[in-house]
């Protein structure tokens, strides 16, 4: 009985309070000890208005934290005007350790503030990263050890393990110099960047066997690689007669520097190791390099946005309503001379009719659609996969607008040199970017990613077999064999076989819309569609997306390029 009484005795208040206090103290102590350290760019080197890798070190967490790591930056200054930028660097479970990702740098003069919040929004830790000390005006060469820059150069050298995990992390790099082995994932990232327009220099020679891997051979497009001993004692890589390559420099009448296309980019193969190059050859090599030039579609996207028809009432309809109202007034006045009370009723009834007619017309004219957005998505699959997103927005009124879900939470917003002329704010809500658009101005965003493996194509001498998903957009497809386009019939999804009989030159392709032709033309200017087998898929749709009380007129063009296999 006594034991029962003891069991049901309430705990002492003092004990409960002491326990709570202890828990709070421990929690506070653990929270206050959390530290954030960050390095942005390559050994701090970065370029404003481009993406840059960020390496974050989180330390002091007593347990994995479900929270959000936010980067905040105020771009511009009091003279130029300011832009408020805020986006999540990471969201989800955060643990002690190193976190690598890629962020947009909107201004390379102002510091970036990093804030770690838990799920309830409580600030756990904060850090400020100064980025101006090693900012660069132009893209710069990046050397991956053991590659080294010339003496006196300030260009950064990084370890292979410090290479960014995302291919767009190289956005500020003009050329990437590799002289040692990389992991398969690192080769893949480098290859993705080359596909998008990057410029890569790979030293081989006596070190080739250390570098050699299937991923490296894919990037270098090697077929019959052998090492040759030159009269000066250096070992040089040779690849048959270097088919599909341009020899830029020679030594002993043998290729010393060879250029091969890799998508929209270039791979420069130096057939000897770095230490076997003379100073003159090194200087000459640097002069012959082609700087990286990532495919961009800001211009075409803005042009396509400009071509979107405006929605809204016509002037004729509004004039008609005005004339009707004036007529009602005139008739009412005339009737009022005979029957004053009846005239008022007449005016009320007919005005109501005019208002109802105006309402029906306005609903039909979609006047709520005062926001226009153009999205272009270019996706390339060639062993590795990349995707480039560009989005342009236009609004007739100033407002905060959601960006396309495709650009993700960390897009790069194009900022005008003078920010005083408008309100610039970029923030992420629920994983989606939102930005301010001033009345009658255009805002542009760009983002990069890794494409999903959507379509596949295998080609024989006479037929091409295409595999892919069903699409609601009714895609237009062509099979390109060495620059000759073969139209694919209406795509029904799953699988389709195309006979490769008569085709037309790629320049003679007839597309459904000028927008598609414009995007394809821009792409073909940079990408070697004239060589090899490619599947070209164009999808376009226009739709209305609701946004609060207004509607957004959205047009999307997706260009997918897939390299065929089996040729």
């Amino acid at each position: 009985m006594n034991a029962t009484l003891r069991i049901h005795r309430p705990p002492s208040r003092g004990g409960v309070l002491a326990t709570m206090l202890l828990v709070l103290c421990v929690h506070a102590a653990s929270s206050s000890a959390v530290t954030l350290r960050a390095e942005v760019g390559f050994v701090g080197h970065l370029v404003g208005g481009r993406f840059a890798p960020i390496t974050l070190t989180v330390d002091g967490l007593s347990a994995p934290l479900d929270g959000t790591l936010i980067a905040r930056q105020t771009a511009g200054n009091a003279w130029r005007g300011t832009a408020s930028i805020e986006f999540p660097v990471h969201s989800g479970t955060i643990r002690n350790g190193i976190l690598r990702t890629t962020i947009p740098i909107h201004d390379d003069l102002n510091p970036i503030e990093l804030l770690l919040h838990d799920r309830s929004g409580r600030l756990i830790a904060a850090a400020t990263v100064e980025i101006r000390s090693r900012r660069r005006e132009q893209p710069f060469p990046l050397y991956v050890a053991p590659a080294r820059p010339p003496a006196g150069s300030v260009d950064p050298v990084i370890a292979p393990s410090d290479l960014p995990a995302d291919w767009w992390g190289f956005d500020a790099v003009s050329s990437l110099w590799i002289a040692g082995p990389l992991s398969s994932a690192e080769w893949q990232t480098v290859t993705q960047w080359a596909l998008a327009g990057g410029s890569i220099v790979v030293f081989t020679g006596a070190d080739f066997y250390r570098i050699d891997s299937p991923a490296a051979r894919r990037l270098l497009s090697l077929r019959q690689s052998t090492l040759t001993l030159w009269p000066d004692g250096s070992l040089a890589l040779q690849d048959g007669d270097w088919a599909d390559a341009t020899v830029l420099m020679k030594r002993h009448s043998e290729p010393l520097l060879v250029r091969r296309s890799a998508g929209a980019g270039s791979v420069f193969i130096v057939t000897v190791r770095p230490s076997d190059l003379t100073d003159e050859e090194r200087t000459s090599l640097a002069e012959r390099l082609q700087a990286a030039n990532i495919m961009r579609y800001d211009g075409p996207t803005a042009d396509l946005l400009a071509q979107i028809p405006l929605t809204g009432p016509s002037h004729a309809a509004v004039v008609l309503i005005v004339v009707c109202c004036l007529s009602v007034l005139g008739l009412g006045s005339a009737i009022g001379r005979v029957r004053p009370r009846g005239a008022v009723g007449f005016v009320v009834v007919l005005s109501s009719c005019c208002a109802a007619a105006a309402g029906f017309y306005i609903n039909r004219a979609n006047v709520d659609s005062t926001v226009y957005r153009m999205d272009t998505i270019v996706s390339v699959q060639d062993g590795v996969r990349i995707v480039l997103f560009h989005s342009a927005l236009f609004s007739t009124a100033s407002r905060l607008l959601p960006a396309s879900p495709a650009v993700g939470p960390r897009p790069l917003l194009a900022l005008d040199p003078a920010l005083l002329s408008g309100t610039y704010r970029l923030e992420a809500r629920d994983g989606l970017a939102a930005l301010t658009v001033d009345a009658r101005t255009t805002r542009s965003l760009r983002a990069c990613g890794v494409a999903a493996d959507v379509y596949r194509m295998s080609v024989s001498d006479t037929v091409a077999s295409i595999h892919g998903p069903r699409s609601e957009r009714s895609p237009v497809m062509f099979v390109l064999i060495d620059g000759v386009a073969h139209a694919v019939g209406p795509w029904l999804g799953a699988e389709q076989v195309v006979e490769l009989r008569a085709g037309v030159e790629i320049e003679a392709i007839e597309l459904d819309s000028a927008a598609q032709a414009e995007l394809l033309r821009s792409f073909a200017e940079r990408f070697p569609l004239h060589a090899g087998a490619w599947l070209l898929v164009l999808e376009e749709d226009g739709r209305l997306e609701s946004f609060g009380s207004t509607m957004m007129n959205v047009r999307t063009i997706v260009l997918t390029i897939v390299r065929g296999s089996g040729v």
Binding site: A306, V318, V322, C325, A358, A365, T370, R399
Partner: protein
């Protein structure tokens, strides 16, 4: 002549009604962009402000109110029933603009709340002008029927002078809400609860003050 006098709308008032409808209609037409594509709108430097429609509405309705107020006083009918009739005439004028307000969604979508706020506010301000001008006549500030230009001058002062507070420091800018034009401009932007209450409050207090004095005066006159 008798039939003409009994008409619900007399010729001078008809001109103001007509001017109100025509001016607002022109503003509405001009506020709709003269462009077919987004690109045309982007490069077009000429842009008619959508707020002009609402300002013209408030301005012409205030003129109409002033005219109606001075006319009713001239006829000598100054009881409560006349006050209601005055209100009905102003309200009818605003009702004629209802189709325009429906179309106004096209010039500033998403601001319908502000539009309907102005739609309600404009006749109240006009009614204040009406009872105000009537009171001026009754108090012999305007000694003769031909002196109505003074009433219009007072009305213009009421519309315009408080707006000048917008040019002053931030703490005096709220006084611009005393002007119907200033209040309208304020309503058309994202408006706070207190701004709306202040704008309407000024007009309602003015109407009550003017009406109370007017009817009381009328009562004394009747007793005499």
């Amino acid at each position: 002549m008798e039939r003409h006098r009994s008409n619900w709308i007399e010729w001078p008032a008809f001109q103001i009604y007509f001017g109100l409808l025509l001016s607002c209609g022109i503003c509405l037409v001009l506020a709709i962009p003269f462009a077919d594509r987004v690109g045309d709108l982007r490069v077009s430097s000429w842009h008619f402000p959508p707020s002009a429609f609402f300002l013209v509405n408030v301005f012409f309705l205030a003129i109409l109110g002033t005219h109606l107020g001075s006319r009713i006083e001239r006829l000598g009918r100054i009881d409560a029933r006349t006050g209601f009739r005055l209100a009905a005439q102003v309200a009818l004028a605003q009702f004629l603009l209802t189709p325009y307000y429906v179309l106004a969604r096209a010039i500033a979508p998403g601001s319908e709340g502000s539009h309907w706020l102005v739609y309600t506010y404009a006749p109240l301000a006009a009614y204040l002008c009406a009872v105000g001008s009537a009171r001026l006549r009754r108090r012999r500030v305007l000694p003769s029927p031909d002196s109505s230009p003074v009433a219009y001058a007072v009305m213009l002062g009421y519309l315009i002078v408080p707006i000048l507070f917008r040019l002053g420091p931030s703490w005096v800018r709220s006084f611009a809400l005393a002007s119907p034009l200033g209040a309208t401009l304020r309503f058309l932007h994202p408006v706070g609860r207190w701004d709306a209450l202040s704008g309407f409050g000024v007009v309602v207090v003015g109407i009550v003050a003017a009406l109370f004095g007017r009817i009381q005066h009328s009562g004394r006159r009747t007793r005499v």
